[in-house]
């Protein structure tokens, strides 16, 4: 099972190696396919390029846990450069949780490590019959048995594989934990121990392929074609990151959990499976970023090339009284494992977060699923007989940690939780209690508190995700210059389209969302244009963003999704919350209008299908011609 270095002719565009590494786990074959330069310019890299290659590789209607699914991870032309935060990889696959496009992004050092092996894209197809790992260096690519790592946590796998690589340039490891192995539908893939491709269940796809890890090591470099142009963009970006207070110091000081108090104050902090947004002030204080920084933070940390440094390296008392160290919690984790489960115990949340990282579980979906179970339990739809005697009432902080392990290994009631809240609620006869869009659990911003955010959840290609769906909160509150109305039906569709597109650009360039607090596309256009030596003006980038968004939609349409999937759970249309003294819901009529307008803004037809005319205009080839 060995692939030797294949020499391809030098790639005509700087920033790319021009090599797509394809591993077929069924046959054990590894080959390098040349990257198509036209495709590189049309889809750029990262999310865009990965989605294109996935679409060309699999049938969107395939079984996500079958060998017909593939995992594609792509880098951008900026990965491997010194552009700030440009070390991120993007992974796409068909999601076993949602049944539509799975798309997830992670920081850490693995992305730059993979690019340094002399490849731009990794495609993993088929499925092995016993556990394997892929070992990649510029000299050789091997598929190796991984039985002895199977069953290990992400941390153990990382540490052992890094160590086994021997001396030399450090190896970077991307791997799954027990949750992926047992096909938990929201299992994550981790690198650098605690940086995860979290959402949509990529870990389960790896687990189904029996792929435990991908280890990379190399020194291949990229150099800008027009260094002066590249540098002008770089200078501007670096300067602006130091200017904007959010990127300069606030994320480093408070982490993302610094948002807890603010989001609460604007009545957007969800509570008890999104029943309301009401919390006691002293409870919120207990899970605030301020308290985290004061009581648990050891130091801030950074991903590759990141001057922002939002990571929380923390220490907390373990249940046995001994201190434990780990990372987190992020804002999302704090809220989903916290108040959404009616828990305000930061120690318990932090420990559960540590366990999720080790087991390889997405904290948002885990928290959302647990909250759903708690509501099922309180309504009597679920009883102690179903849970194996566990009292799953809201507020049961004690149970959190244990449930992570049970879920990851599908033990007892954990096997039900492992299916995610949509399947759980359906199985116990109360589908309306699943707070999901396209079966993906809603993150920690209540959509009733911002119509733009609501529309973002509705139309995100991967289901309710603030990173793919667009992050309206920053528009309203943190962007300063960008404050937009929260409740404008008129402005929402375009505002969220533009925000989603900004995300597509960042994901396709392999750079962090948080750079968006300092600047938008122009410095990136110069850096990407300088790197590639091609016309990557902002207008060209805008075209790429729209192309990627429409291809993602096309994938989902072929996977069977339609307008009915672009909707919020009934709770948000029926039960109002109070914001600034007014009752706010996202009525079905408002959803209908925003959805219709959004389709039109995107150039899709009334059923949300990309029109032939649009596909032609954007030069998107599809199976249907």
């Amino acid at each position: 099972m060995k692939g030797r270095r294949v020499t391809t002719s030098p790639f005509p565009i700087s920033g790319y190696h021009g090599r797509v590494l394809e591993a077929d786990l069924t046959s054990g074959a590894v080959r390098v396919v040349p990257l198509d330069p036209a495709q590189a310019m049309d889809y750029l890299g990262g999310r865009g390029l990965a989605t294109r290659i996935l679409y060309d590789t699999i049938d969107p209607a395939c079984d996500p846990l079958g060998p017909g699914n593939a995992v594609v991870i792509a880098m951008s032309p900026l990965v491997g450069s010194n552009a700030p935060t440009a070390g991120r990889g993007h992974m796409v696959f068909k999601s076993p949780l949602t049944g539509v496009l799975g798309t997830s992004n992670s920081g850490g050092h693995w992305g730059a490590g993979f690019k340094a092996t002399g490849h731009d894209v990794l495609v993993v197809k088929g499925a092995a019959s016993s556990p394997v790992m892929i070992d990649i260096s510029p000299e050789k690519v091997e598929i190796l048995p991984a039985d002895r790592y199977w069953g290990l946590t992400t941390h153990e796998t990382h540490d052992q594989l890094a160590e086994d690589a021997g001396p030399g340039k450090p190896a970077r490891v991307l791997c799954i934990g027990p949750a992926g192995e047992s096909l938990v539908r929201f299992a994550a893939v981790a690198n650098d121990r605690n940086r995860v491709y979290g959402r949509c269940g990529p870990g389960a796809v790896w687990g189904a392929k029996k792929l435990k890890a991908v280890r990379v090591r190399g020194r291949e470099k990229v150099a800008p074609s027009d260094p002066e142009k590249y540098k002008s963009g770089l200078d501007q970006a670096v300067y602006l990151l130091k200017q904007a207070p959010v990127t300069k110091r606030l994320l480093r000081e408070l982490g993302t959990a610094g948002l807890v108090e603010l989001i609460n104050l604007i009545s957007m902090l969800p509570h008890r499976n999104f029943q309301d947004c009401l919390h006691r002030d002293e409870d919120v204080e207990r899970i605030s970023g301020e308290r985290l920084a004061r009581a648990f933070l050891e130091k801030a940390g950074s991903c590759a090339l990141c001057p922002i440094g939002c990571q929380r390296h923390t220490r907390v008392a373990g249940r046995d009284g001994r201190d434990e160290r780990g990372e987190g919690p992020e804002y999302e984790t704090m809220v989903l494992l916290g108040p959404v489960c009616d828990v305000y115990d930061m120690e318990a949340v932090t420990r559960a977060n540590y366990r999720c990282n080790e087991m390889g579980l997405d904290t948002i979906s885990f928290g959302g699923t647990l909250a759903c179970a708690m509501e099922l339990f309180e309504t009597g739809a679920l009883t102690a007989a179903d849970t194996g005697g566990l009292g799953l009432s809201f507020g049961n902080a004690e149970a959190l940690e244990g449930l992570v392990a049970m879920t990851a290994r599908r033990e007892g009631f954990g096997a039900e939780l492992a299916e995610g809240s949509f399947r759980l609620a359906g199985r116990f006869g109360r589908p309306e209690l699943s707070m999901t869009v396209k079966r993906l659990e809603i993150p920690a911003y209540d959509p009733r508190a911002s119509l733009t955010q609501a529309l973002g959840y509705m139309t995100s290609p991967s289901g309710a995700c603030h990173l793919r769906g667009g992050y309206a909160v920053s528009l309203a509150f943190f962007g300063g210059a960008k404050e937009i109305p929260r409740f404008s039906l008129l402005q929402s569709p375009i505002a969220i389209r533009n925000m989603q597109n900004a995300g597509i650009l960042q994901d396709s360039l392999g750079v962090c969302r948080f750079t968006g607090y300092a600047f938008s596309a122009e410095p990136w256009a110069r850096m990407a244009g300088g790197m590639t030596g091609r016309d990557l003006s902002v207008a060209r980038l805008e075209e790429i963003e729209n192309r990627v968004a429409t291809l993602e939609r096309q994938f989902n349409v072929e996977a069977g999704a339609g307008p009915a999937d672009d909707a919020l759970p009934a709770r948000f249309a029926e039960a109002p919350i109070t914001v600034e003294g007014k009752e706010r819901r996202v009525s079905r009529e408002d959803q209908e209008r925003m959805r219709r307008d959004y389709y039109r803004v995107r150039g899709w037809d009334a059923d949300g299908r990309p029109t032939g005319e649009l596909l032609r205009a954007l030069r998107i080839e599809t199976r249907r011609g």
């Binding site: 959010v246 606030l250 610094g258 104050l265 509150f477 969302r513 600034e580």
Partner: protein, 91 residues
């Protein structure tokens, strides 16, 4: 009238606590209250840039950004809660 001021993040150190309840004469606005709170040059420098607020500050009254109200001129009423945040980011 009695109003409450709440501080977040670094403003807690600056103002020596999480919250303060203050008695102010009727008819005062957000700017008056902030002016009153800034009783040292350091505090003043923390919030104000000349007579306006520093740019990267979020001031809310009962959960509404004062930019969406009448800015510093927003009138206060008994029981109002004014909150001072740095601009934050996350997701």
């Amino acid at each position: 009238m009695k109003v409450q001021a709440k501080f977040f993040a670094s403003f807690r150190d600056l103002f020596g606590g999480r919250a303060r309840e203050i008695e102010i004469p009727d008819g005062r606005n957000a700017g008056d209250l902030l002016g009153l709170l800034c009783d040292t040059p350091a505090r003043r420098a923390g919030l104000f840039d000349g007579n306006g607020l520093k740019p990267h500050l979020i001031v809310m009254i009962n959960g509404t950004h004062i930019n969406s109200l009448a800015g510093l001129g927003t009138p206060l009423a008994e029981g109002d809660v004014l909150a001072v945040f740095p601009m934050l980011g996350g997701g």
